[in-house]
């Protein structure tokens, strides 16, 4: 007996993995889930055996590739994410940029600088998808294209008129600037390529990378989508909400969000004239909007000094942060949220589910921050302000590992050209902009009409009958207006209404009553002979 117990114990011991391996397994499983991109299909309900096996093998394949990807993430990625940790009482938001500068290596500390250009500010910034190039547009007409890796100024031009916004197109070769009257597209060397007159004086410009659409909202609140590959104006939408300069693109699905002075945030797609969503986010004007890269979170800030985080899957408010009016908001790749106001930048992190203070940075008093934007694939926050632009280190904000085929900071000319061709081949039509992009490439579920339940029909009938009873009859000429006639008419009306609702079968769930089964007794005598003999 004791021997058996011991044996069992041994078996148990064999099954239990050492704690290290267990830990790794749990970690890998969590990662696998990310790469599986959602639940697999429920194959149990399928009746078609052939299809079931085919799908099962497909699911198996997905599982395998997710496992491989998880392992690659665990073991093979060259770099790990940045972090800022303090021990004990020290708080992360007390760490100054100067403190960071002391601790980090030279390459990183090069990313801390202020460029002082007092004459042309305030500056708007934009980064390319790889974070290699930065475009700065000063309000007074100064456009500068900077290579952030070598810190070289590639080109700067002075357009001699107001520049309201700047945006890179699909790579660093082209950029668009919203100027006083029209917006323009420039090449990398500063050549003006196009003047986009159709859209009028544009307040904000955004480029939808997957769709090659240049979206803009102009001074009279019109939203324009222009295809930059062949210049077609895909959509021009009158928002009817007045002038706005709050505009952001949800990177997850390409939906454009506008913030309005009434406190609403509306979301738009080019294929419909009506907004997809209207949300009342703030009581007062919305001052800025930002989207989390996973597309599920939206941050809005209002003039009433509140910053709100919204869950876009439920369109619900997740969190409100009081006492903070952000002129500009930006989410980083790792989900940090930077909010700039006045000469102060607050960076919020979601370490414990809620967004809370992570870091802060104060500029010289009097600098007015115009735009904050995280540099992709770097732990760097770019700040455009009234006196030029600055760059500060925010450890843990950027994705440490880039993918050469997605966005490569070390891209060569040849690679860039090839990438451009592939981007154009994979260009999505404007119809693919929708709130839930996972619906693309899925089958539409069969639209079988749901039959209303009996209770619903009854209720509907009752309502209709009541409505019929309440109808005021016209006064008719003499003789036809007798009370008897009037009651008759009313009854008829009610009957007619009742007729439109088919009679419900009485008895067991609409089953056809077979002649003679149990009701043979109550049949008329003439029919009794047809009754089934038991």
């Amino acid at each position: 007996m004791t021997m058996e117990v011991a044996l069992e114990d041994n078996n148990l011991m064999e099954k239990v993995l050492p704690p290290d391996e267990q830990e790794i397994d749990v970690e890998l499983e969590a990662k696998e889930k990310k790469y599986l991109r959602g639940e697999g299909a429920n194959l149990e309900t399928l009746k078609d055996k052939k299809l079931k096996t085919q799908l099962a093998s497909r699911e198996k394949l997905y599982g395998k590739s997710a496992k491989a990807a998880a392992k690659i993430e665990k073991w093979l990625l060259p770099a790990s994410a940045g972090y800022l940790e303090t021990d004990g009482l020290e708080k992360t938001w007390r760490v100054k940029q100067t403190d960071i500068a002391k601790e980090v290596d030279i390459l990183s500390s090069r990313n801390q600088y202020d460029i002082v250009l007092p004459d042309f500010g305030p500056y708007k910034l934009d980064f390319t998808a790889s974070g290699r190039h930065m475009l700065a547009g000063g309000r007074k007409g100064h456009l500068a294209l900077v290579d952030m890796m070598s810190m070289n100024l590639i080109k700067e031009i002075q357009v001699r008129e107001t520049v309201r916004d700047v945006a890179f197109l699909h790579n660093d070769q082209f950029f668009a600037a919203a100027q006083k009257k029209y917006s323009y597209i420039y090449a990398r060397d500063g050549t003006e390529l196009h003047c986009l007159k159709e859209r009028g004086p544009v307040a904000r410009l955004r480029f939808l990378k997957n769709h090659f659409l240049l979206a803009s909202v102009n001074k009279i609140g019109q939203l324009h989508y222009q295809d930059v590959t062949y210049g077609d104006m895909v959509a021009s939408i009158r928002t009817g909400k007045g002038r706005t300069d709050v505009m952001e693109v949800n990177p997850y699905n390409g939906v454009v969000a506008l913030g309005h002075s009434g406190g609403t945030v509306t979301m738009w797609k080019p294929t419909s004239q009506a907004p997809l969503v209207q949300m009342q986010c703030h009581p007062g004007p919305v001052s800025s909007v930002a989207f989390h890269p996973n597309g599920h979170l939206m941050a809005t800030s209002g003039k009433e000094r509140k910053l709100k985080i919204w869950d876009l899957r439920k369109f619900e408010e997740v969190q409100t942060i009081h006492g903070f009016h952000a002129k500009t908001l930006s989410f980083s790749q790792k989900g940090l949220l930077a909010a700039g106001t006045g000469s102060f930048v607050q960076v919020l992190g979601d370490s414990s589910g809620d967004y809370s203070r992570y870091m802060s940075h104060s500029m010289v008093k009097g600098y007015q921050i115009e735009k904050v934007m995280f540099r992709p694939y770097e732990d760097v926050l770019g700040i455009g302000h009234s006196m030029g632009w600055s760059s500060v280190l925010i450890p843990g904000s950027g994705e440490p590992n880039f993918d050469s085929w997605v966005a490569n900071p070390f891209e060569t000319t040849k690679q860039r050209r090839e990438k451009e061709v592939h981007l154009l081949l994979d260009k999505l039509p404007p119809e693919t902009i929708m709130l839930d992009p996972s619906k693309i490439g899925a089958m539409r579920p069969s639209r079988r009409k749901e039959r209303p339940t009996r209770g619903e029909i009854e209720a509907e009938k009752e309502v209709a009958v009541e409505a019929a009873k309440g109808v005021e009859l016209k006064k008719k000429t003499k003789g036809r207006n007798k009370p008897s006639k009037r009651t008759k008419k009313k009854k008829e009306l009610v009957e007619n209404v009742k007729k439109t609702f088919p009679e419900q079968e009485q008895g067991a769930a609409g089953k056809k009553r077979r002649i003679g089964e149990d009701a043979a007794a109550d049949l008329p005598s003439s029919l009794k002979r047809f009754a089934r003999k038991n």
Partner: protein, 754 residues
């Protein structure tokens, strides 16, 4: 950007410890080499690596440790163990200007390499005792580092002794060997090694200041810590350069995290402006451990790491190299990936349509309609064809020319087959003759067989009473069967059939031997029968009576119990030869009689030729064709063949031409690069993934049909629908069970006889 060489070595005093050695330089043309501990512990005095061709020589040896208590005497020293770790690194730059040479170890005296400027032949021999040569008594007894390198014809030497608290820097001019300059810093006895390093380096470096030491935070967490040093000459905008030694040493990050005792660090700038060697060594880690710990604590109050990428690590080293590619499969980096994938599938489907050019060429030469064809099992490029006027030709498919003609038949040739070894061609025709021909063999120098057209004479002519309609040769044997008024089995060498089978008054139309069982064959006859014979028996083993005639039969070469029959009603029926009561699959698409059928050697597909002037390719288990081939000029197709490599389809038709088609219409012919291959596979995969979606389905399925076929199809569809409706109604209005709908698979079969 800077390029530099790092040599890093760490070990533990008195015992063997894993040692990491690392060189990274673009200049020296090799990447990082991290040796495992095994390879760094060879037997004593052995050379680990010698890259003289690639300009770097690395020696590793374990020298004996001498008894330290013994006062040194030239003749008397004893070995107490193998505890000295030594490393010699020599770089022969192309310019022949720089050599480096380092030895780290514990010596009661100094050793040095004598032949700095000549290649090191054996490390052990080349080590000579320093004081033997110099007659100097070493001022240190314990914990020495001796480093030497030459730069601009100077030999720089760093010597240190912790025990005595001395760091000695000596500068030795190579030209003037007697001149010895020493600089000395007195340090506290128990001070920490890193500080020594800095002060040492600062003093050595010829007036240049060491800016700072950086320990990459990545590595701090590791057991082994790497130290890199940044050149002070690079522009540093943020911070003023450290000017004094004290400042420098303060900004040093502790390298003590290392847990290692012996540490050698070399820094080499590639521009050769400042060759720089730094060594430090601590022999008493255990004593200092608490202090080290304390130091690491104070200097590490903030845990900060930021992303920093050096260009070297992410770009290729030379223009001949491939570009480096990094992957991150995180879905969040690829927004809208499903939409993009769908778009790619759509593009792939469209591209497939664009590149669908199946027609390769026509082989013109016959003067009458092609009646039959035969593949040469021995030779991929050859195909035999015969026409209604008695002409038999051998074609070279690659050049699409006639290679050889076989004249002799008087009337139409109706059957053609080649023996399995490819030597004998058998033909038969309506002139009641069976002719055997020997097949010309392609010679090596004339591999394409197309130099000149030749004619052959039959090797044998056998005559029988009736016209012959088909012939097929046995697999693995020398029997062949002819079909006519009866089924005859012939031997190559006999002028009379060895066996005959008769059945009824109708003639046998086609005959096909089973590829698996050599004695089994299937025939079809004019009285709508499909019969399976075993030639060892006297009558048919099994018979299926169909409603219409079967024109041809093909066995599946991969599943030889299954065969497919091409029927007069425009359908093909796949049967399991063991179970004939119903067809396994009915392949519908042709609108007129199917004249011939041939399986792909893979057994997954077969090709059919039809009287409706089209050729179709069906999957072996699918009800509808995946491909239709037709041209304006192609007339009734009488015979089709799948090529033996499954890439081509050949059809012979009434318009006297053989036509060569690709089996996959959009396949790229010729040599395909691996990247192209991958792209094709990817396209295939995405198409397969989204094949059920209406847009892609429509594009993939669409085929242009000739008007007569299109009309006939619509007509037959209308007829079938009407019939189906009628049947349904009849069924609905009859007593249940009286009207039975027959499935398609049994509808055309009248009966089945065992």
């Amino acid at each position: 950007m800077q390029t530099y060489t790092k040599v890093f070595l760490c070990g533990t005093w008195g015992q063997y410890y894993p040692v990491t050695f690392c060189i990274s330089s673009t200049y020296f043309r090799f990447k990082r080499h991290v040796f495992s501990s095994q390879c760094l512990f060879p037997s004593r005095g052995e050379i680990v690596s010698s890259w003289t061709n690639s300009l770097v020589v690395i020696y590793w040896f374990i020298a004996p440790v001498w008894d330290l208590d013994q006062i040194f005497d030239e003749s008397s020293f004893s070995l107490i163990g193998e505890s000295i770790t030594s490393l010699i690194v020599e770089y022969h730059l192309r310019t022949n200007r720089t050599w480096m040479f380092c030895v780290v170890g514990v010596f009661p005296w100094l050793v040095r390499h004598d032949s700095l400027l000549s290649p090191i032949s054996s490390s052990k021999e080349s080590l000579v005792l320093w004081n033997k040569r110099r007659n100097l008594k070493p001022p240190w007894l314990w914990g020495l580092i001796w480093t030497s390198y030459s730069f601009k014809n100077l030999i720089w030497t760093i010597v240190s002794s912790l025990r005595q608290g001395d760091w000695v820097t000596s500068l030795l001019d190579n030209r003037r060997k007697d001149g010895l300059v020493m600089r000395r810093h007195v340090v506290e006895d128990d001070e920490i090694a890193t500080k020594h390093v800095i002060s040492c380096s600062g003093s050595v470096w010829n007036g240049q200041r060491c800016n700072r030491w950086i320990v990459p935070p990545d590595l701090l967490s590791d057991e082994w810590c790497w130290i890199t040093m940044d050149d002070s000459q690079t522009q540093d905008h943020i911070r003023p350069r450290t000017t004094t030694i004290e400042n420098v040493s303060e900004s040093v990050y502790s390298a003590i995290e290392l847990g290692s005792i012996v540490l050698l660090f070399l820094y080499h700038h590639v521009q050769l402006k400042n060759v720089f060697v730094v060594c430090f060594y601590s022999a008493h880690l255990k004593q200092h451990k608490s202090k080290l710990h304390h130091l690491s604590k104070t200097s590490q109050s903030l845990g900060i790491k930021t992303i920093s990428r050096s260009v070297d690590e992410f770009t290729r080293e030379r223009s001949q190299d491939l570009q480096r590619v990094f992957h991150n499969f995180d879905p969040s980096l690829r927004p809208m990936e499903k939409a993009v994938e769908y778009q790619r599938a759509l593009t792939a489907a469209k591209l497939e349509k664009i590149f669908a050019r199946p027609f390769v060429g026509a082989m013109d030469g016959h003067r009458d309609g092609i009646s039959c064809m035969a593949k040469n099992p021995n030779y991929l490029k050859g195909i035999f064809s015969a026409s209604m006027d008695g002409d038999i030709r051998l074609w070279d498919i690659a050049t699409r020319r006639t290679v050889c003609q076989f004249p002799g038949h008087q009337g139409a040739v109706r059957g053609l087959t080649v023996s399995t070894d490819g030597n004998v061609l058998v033909s038969c025709g309506t002139d009641c003759n069976v002719r055997l021909w020997s097949v010309p063999r392609p010679s090596l120098e004339d591999s394409d067989l197309s130099s000149e057209k030749s004619t052959e004479v039959p090797s044998a002519v056998y005559t029988c009473k009736n016209a012959l309609l088909a012939v097929d040769h046995q697999f693995e044997g020398d029997l062949f069967a002819t079909a006519g008024a009866q089924l005859d089995i012939w031997n190559h060498n006999r002028s009379q059939p060895v066996q005959s089978f008769t059945s009824g008054s109708h003639s046998v139309i086609s005959v096909r031997f089973n590829p698996g069982e050599p004695d089994i064959l299937a025939t079809s006859s004019g009285d709508n029968h499909i019969s399976i014979y075993d030639i060892r028996m006297s009558s048919a083993a099994r018979k299926i009576l169909m409603r219409t005639k079967t024109n041809s039969i093909a066995w599946n070469p991969m599943e030889p119990m299954n065969f497919t029959a091409a029927n007069e009603d425009g359908n093909c029926y796949s049967f399991d030869g063991r179970k004939n009561e119903e067809a396994k699959c009915v392949h519908k698409d042709h609108v007129s009689a199917v004249m011939d059928i041939d399986f792909s050697p893979t057994g997954r597909e077969f090709v059919t030729g039809s009287y409706d002037r089209s050729v179709r390719i069906f999957p072996y288990n699918g009800g509808h064709s995946r491909e239709i081939y037709h041209t304006k000029r192609m007339q009734r197709v009488f015979c089709v063949k799948y090529s033996s490599d499954a890439t081509y389809v050949i059809s012979g038709s009434d318009d006297t031409n053989l036509r060569l088609w690709k089996a996959k219409a959009s396949e790229q012919l010729g040599v395909i690069l691996p990247r192209e291959q991958k792209k094709h596979e990817y396209n295939e995969a995405v198409k397969n993934r989204y094949k059920h979606l209406p847009e892609i389905k429509r594009i993939v399925r669409h085929r242009h049909l000739p008007k007569p076929i299109y009309k006939a199809k619509a007509e037959s569809r209308a007829m079938n629908d009407a019939k189906r409706r009628k049947d349904e109604r009849r069924k609905a209005h009859s007593a249940p069970g009286t009207v039975v709908t027959e499935s398609h698979r049994t509808r055309r079969i009248i009966k089945e006889v065992e």
